[in-house]
Symmetry: C2
Subunit: 419 residues, 2 copies
């Protein structure tokens, strides 16, 4: 077991050369491998190590938040949780996560599949690329991982062990608790926004009492609802894809939490992409078809996810919750179907509310998204952001009054069309 040290271009090939499986995969000798540090996330080192034959990705946690620096320490154990989550997700959605070749707990390092020609979805959305299989892939990923790590699919004992196994991923959860659920609603040093354009709306949000109450209700849910092993950070920067292949990466925020937090992350980030299109189109209306495509994805993600989730539930006989033997006759089957619809309705409300909360934090909090940040002109960016905030607030406040996903896309469209 080696002690922790941050690896670099120089030390990494030698280390990988000491791992027989990785050495064989790359082929040849470490001296013939090249290393490129490509981490553009907020937390970690990410290297691509290339040999003449192939390539691998090496992700290593740093003992602090990369975005902020070593003034903000962060435990290396997040790499352990990321690895555990990748292994668990691979059981349920093997084609939708990167392969893991090696994990070193002391180095907080994962060697995994190099995905090519995949790009980070967020960058694809900025470029206006359509991904025809994305919605069905991400729906499959979420349905499989969320259903199968809940007591709808497993015993209560397994579920308690799962809760236990991830319960100490405390600091990563705290990042979410602080940056997503709290800081955007108070004066906080790390907050920033397009200023002065958004100064007034940021102040409004800080004194928007019904909004703050609703967000705090969701924060409590985030801290107490142990529904399933969630990815915990499932934005479009955690998705790499091609037109035919989709992979979910970076589950270091994983813990047993509310399912809607993952589904809401996908939908909220699609909606941010939708509102950012005005800032990326060559001329007004040029991206109208793409805007339409994004909203179709919002609808498809929810529809395909909920359909698939219920399909898995219909087929499952292994969960300690809602044991099928209790609902065997025709009346029972009907009651069970109604109950599943009720469950999905609650999950929809959770999803939409979390989606709105995730949008707000990306505009008024610490960590923003490239979709909006890459809009050069502040006035244009502020206009996009204001519309996104308007929808986001409505999603949080009105989640229970929205009858379905098309209410969300209608509202998104109407707010976009407003002056």
């Amino acid at each position: 077991m080696s002690a922790y040290r941050a690896l670099n271009d120089g030390s990494l090939p030698e280390f990988l050369g000491s791992l027989p499986q990785v050495k064989e995969l790359l082929g040849g000798e470490p001296a013939g491998w090249t290393v490129e540090e490509v981490g553009d996330g907020n937390l970690n080192l990410v290297f691509i190590v290339r040999s003449p034959k192939t390539a691998v990705v090496v992700k290593q946690a740093l003992p602090y938040v990369r975005l902020v620096g070593d003034s903000w320490p962060l435990p290396l154990s997040r790499s352990y949780y990321e690895h555990m989550a990748l292994v668990e997700q691979a059981k349920h959605a093997p084609k939708l996560v990167p392969k893991v070749y090696h994990f070193d707990r002391n180095l907080a390092l994962i060697v995994m599949e190099y995905l090519s020609p995949h790009i980070i979805m967020r960058k694809g959305l900025i470029r206006g690329i359509e991904y025809p299989l994305f919605a069905s892939h991400i729906a499959e990923f979420m349905a499989q991982t969320l259903f199968n790590t809940s007591p709808l699919a497993t015993t209560a004992s397994d579920h308690k062990r799962r809760i236990w196994a991830f319960a100490d991923n405390i600091e990563l959860c705290k990042i979410t608790e602080d940056l997503v659920f709290t800081d955007p609603y108070r004066i906080a040093k790390l907050n920033h926004w397009t200023s002065p354009d958004l100064d007034e709306i940021a102040a409004q949000f800080r004194r928007d009492e019904p909004l703050k109450a609703a967000v705090q209700r969701r924060k409590l849910q985030f801290m107490t609802s142990a529904e399933a092993l969630i990815h915990g950070d499932l934005h479009t920067g955690s998705i790499m894809l091609t037109p035919t292949d989709t992979r979910v990466i970076d589950p270091e925020f994983a813990f047993v939490g509310p399912m809607g937090f993952d589904v809401g992350a996908v939908i909220g980030n699609l909606l941010l992409a939708f509102y950012s299109q005005d800032g990326h189109e060559a001329r007004v209306y040029a991206r109208s078809p793409y805007r339409h495509w994004i909203l179709m994805q919002v609808e498809q993600v929810w529809r395909l996810f909920s359909k698939r989730f219920v399909e898995l539930w219909d087929k499952s006989k292994s969960g300690d919750a809602y044991m099928p033997e209790l609902f065997q006759d025709p009346d029972g089957a009907l009651a069970f179907t109604t109950e599943k619809q009720r469950f999905m309705r609650n999950l929809f409300v959770d999803t939409i509310s979390f989606a709105g909360i995730k949008m707000i934090r990306r505009i008024l909090g610490l960590a923003h998204t490239e979709d909006l940040e890459s809009i050069a002109k502040p006035a244009m960016r502020a206009k996009c952001e204001t519309k996104a905030l308007t929808l986001a607030r409505r999603l949080v406040i009105d989640a229970e009054r929205l009858t379905g996903i098309s209410d969300v896309t209608s509202a998104a469209r109407a707010i976009h069309a407003s002056p």
Copy 2:
């Protein structure tokens, strides 16, 4: 550290004599102490050890379910969780739990305060004894322990550690999952009821699809809602009292679960006591004042609990959920007050639904209560039980439609008055 062995009248004094603190407390020599085994619960050995000077209670877990026998093994670790829960509860409600003098993890044994002249509340209810301070005491116990072990009062980190610390109390939770939430709704070997009188209603409940769906929804909540450290078995057999003193014992089912499960246990068991009075009165109507007193306690328990819970919340500044700094101005204070009412409303619905579920399992499941079992004439017992089941079903099905606790007592009274 000693290996596990079940202690008995012979071996117990010697063991206690080896514990300096206990020896000093009892005074004199072990040869002068008497041992009486008094365990009437379902799971454990309970001894009273008396010296000329005083007495202590020794509770030792057996490696199986006492009620069923060694065919049903049960981990000794429940004693560890009981001890941890007693320690935690004593922090928040020190006057409402027995003092702990010694804990031996290997022997799964707790030496604790001998409560005298306290009796088990259930026996007091059967005798028709009024306890004027019970409602305020139990309300205080529940408000203090539930509020203070939730993220309303603590950091998210502390809450995750609490979840982690109790997450492996799996087998005790499974008893609840099986015996409370599942078996009464299916043919199960251990079920029994007043037969043949209740055969038809038991069969009706097994095919009552809306009821089963509602109960399974609560079972899922029991498995996934990590709101606070709950007692987990807070029936009137877990309460010992006098007219002036109340103590909550036996928290071996403790884990971080839904708050309403504890409050519902108290209310459900009071309602069972209410319906059992017909079987205990010397002549018809003799216990009418006592029936009225019990229903007043149902109302008081909820009212005092919810009032106290909100008081604690109003004063607290330490919780990661709903940080007070977010709601400081007058509008914020108003929104926060509204949000607390909303929280309490949800907790009320949970409570009433769990109360109904706990009542049903005591009549159609494995473990019954002395309130009803001690009614000698089956026809009378069946009549009491049928009324209790009628109310219980309504509480589960209609919890969301009940506007307050007086709806519960009105329904209880109306059903009691029916032929």
